[in-house]
Amino acid sequence: MSDSTRVSRRKFLKLAGTAATGAALASVSPGIASASRPILGVPHFHRQRSVRIAVGGWAQQNMLDLLDRTDFSGQTGIDVEIVLRADTKETEITKIVGAVQAGTSPYDVIDFEDELTTTLSRANYMLGLDDILPAGMWEDFSPEMVEYSKVWSTYNDETFRVIHNWEMPIWWYRKDWFDERGVAVPTTWEEVAAMGEVFTDQANGVWATEDGLIKGAFLNVYLAWITLQAGGNPFDVGDEYRTALQYIYDLMYTHNALNPASLQKDYNQQNGDYIADKVAFMRQWPFFGDVARSADNAAWFSEDKVAIGLPPVGPGGVAGSTYPAAWGFGIIKTSPNLEEAKELLSFLVAQETAVEAMKVGFWFLNARKSVLAEAPQDNWLVQQLKMYTDAGVIGVRPFHPSFVEALTILEDSASAYLTNQMSLNDCLDQTRAQLRDLEEE
């Protein structure tokens, strides 16, 4: 190398330093900044307004269609990035907590379920929304949705989530089997118990009813459903919970109506058994309707195999025969684009948008008056929602301020009782003691 082309150490350091400084300056400039027309020879930067919304994978296309159809970006100048949130609450909460502790958030608006509401709201991670909700929004909600929102979407008298997906366990039954045997669909606890004699054939693995009751939030759903029918909240561990547990036990071991193997099954296994003609009727979430109607099950499917009835009435009366669960939109406090997030959420929960949303997908179906009025009346899901709403069978989902922890406590001891590992009294004592500890923490 000749002297003229050799780079001295000092020169090299200067060059490298200049390059590094340039790179550093470039990286700290706003990531979404874009250069627009230069004015008087000086480049002018403006920040493109944008917002990130996280939805489940199943709702991505619906959200895309909705924003496209309503031209949100065109109207507001805000670019919306749709990102996928984790499918499970465990993964999602870990992601959010880590980010919030670092003073940021992976997204601005999030679509989230009941199980995350207590955790996120009690940790003060969610933004109060009352100031940005469209006028008249609550009047559009059904009374049941308002009641539900007061319990599950409000903290310290402030709304932190506005629900858009509103669904409840459905009472599915094999109309063909019931017609064949000339019996009516059970409408009370006693009638459900009596179905064991009618349908259960253990030798062939056929049961009157079955559920997905494996631990990990599955069992808790059923415990809450039955306790609500008994007229109480399982987290109170009162007489109603005792009645509910005893009833479930009797359904399994005395009346042979409920398959005890339910305790090892999740919803996929439960659905599989129903479609394999092993179950006469069952409680299941609406997604089973889509599973049954899917191409995979075309050979099996007929409408009379997936008939829908009103849920059975327990000692608590008609009003608490079933309960809804919901998903809704909220804003994380540490969101990097708060103003844009507020605009987007306000837009999404407006009456006109809610109706449009239902039209792009039933993920946005709920009991808002405007939505139900515009929903296609010949659809099975809409008919079910109307049937349950009109019959007044929808109660409020049993609540606990530390929901995820409390349901784990409930499941541990209830599962032990239902598999004969402890007595009912021990189970209740155990649950009470653990919940008391939880409150004292």
């Binding site: 465990e90 909460i93 870990t94 907590v97 502790q101 955790t119 009690r122 940790a123 253990q202 030798a203 693995g205 494996i214 631990k215 990990g216 398959n259 005890p260 193997a261 305790l263 090892q264 099954k265 999740d266 296994q269 599989g272 058994d273 394999a276 092993k278 995820v404 922890e405 784990t408 406590i409 499941e411 541990d412 001891s413 599962s415 032990a416 009782y417 239902l418 598999t419 590992q421 402890m422 155990q430 003691a433 653990q434 500890d437 923490e441």
Partner: protein, 314 residues
């Protein structure tokens, strides 16, 4: 006797001291040693020693990320562990699970290794497919076996039903559920043990077997008297590793039974996951972790002692 003057005495002392002082090149070697060792030391300190100390410290607090609490509560977390139904159940099953599955894995691994060490056609193929269970992600194996053992669709309950006429519902019986978890664990990890033991067996000198044959030892005697003692250090090492890995893993239990029925198949690592990652109760989760750490420590010490006893050379 020759005597030294005070001046000469002082000079001699200085000389001796100079002789004891490291030379310049030795100093350089020391510095170089420190420079080379310090990154590894810093890494281990940051990734092992510090988190460990921090975990022990947290175990005496009520640190809860969501509630914002973080004050010293002494031994309250440890007291709570004695009354917590989930932790109690997990503690008892953890001991059973780890010991039983490790023991079975060692035995089954040795037997498979012995088979794979034999000379037969298709040996390479057999050695390859042997590893398939081990290559399946544990969580996938957990979910797959949930179906395999399902009362309606499961192959095993179906066979049982065909033979006995009774229904087999495994996961609602605490004992059966525990056995199922242990056996699935063995099915999954014994092949890996087998490969390691196979490598050990291949290192055993053949002349030992030939000499034993000449002396009239049968196959079982050759296995018990030659193979087993010579691979014993490997067995102990692998047993030690398996115990520690089993103690820290919960994915199989999570996928297969979620710890149920009740808490019959729950393990300490699952409890730590629940308390720490799901509930963000770092204080309580740390206390359980410390107990787990003690287990690992005790097992490590016992294992090392055993290893020294059976160390062989040939």
């Amino acid at each position: 006797m020759q005597t030294l003057s005070p001046d000469r005495d002082a000079t001699a002392t200085r000389h001796r001291l100079l002789l004891q002082m490291p030379s310049k090149s030795t100093w350089r070697r020391y510095v170089l040693f420190l420079l080379l060792v310090s990154p590894a030391f810093a890494l281990r300190f940051a990734t092992a020693a510090y988190p460990l100390a921090q975990t022990v410290m947290y175990s005496f607090t009520n640190y809860n990320l969501l509630k914002g609490t973080n004050s010293n509560i002494g031994l309250r977390n440890y007291e709570r562990m004695t009354t917590n139904y989930g932790v109690e159940g997990a503690l008892s099953f953890t001991i059973i699970y780890v010991l039983a599955s490790t023991l079975l894995e060692l035995i089954v691994g040795l037997l498979i290794a012995q088979l794979l060490n034999a000379n037969f056609k298709g040996r390479t193929f057999a050695r390859t497919i042997n590893l398939i269970p081990w290559a399946i992600p544990t969580i996938v194996a957990g979910y797959a076996f949930r179906w395999f053992l399902d009362d309606q669709f499961g192959l095993l309950p179906n066979w049982y039903s065909s033979v006995t006429g009774d229904n087999l519902v495994i996961f609602i019986d605490p004992t059966l559920a525990r056995i199922a978890v242990i056996l699935v664990h063995v099915w999954k990890d014994a092949p890996f043990m087998a490969v390691v033991f196979l490598a050990g067996m291949q290192g055993v000198p053949l002349d030992l077997y030939e000499a034993a044959k000449m002396d009239g030892a049968n196959a079982l005697q050759r296995f018990v008297r030659i193979t087993l003692p010579l691979v014993m250090p490997l067995v102990i090492t692998m047993g030690l590793f398996r115990i520690v890995w089993s103690l820290s893993g919960f994915d199989l239990v999570y996928g297969l039974t979620s710890g149920g029925p009740g808490v019959a198949t729950s393990v300490l690592a699952l409890q730590i996951f629940r308390e720490g990652i799901l509930f963000f109760k770092f204080g309580f989760a740390s206390a359980i972790s410390v107990v787990l750490l003690l287990f690992v420590g005790i097992i490590g010490v016992v294992g090392l002692g055993l290893y020294r006893r059976v160390d062989v050379t040939y």
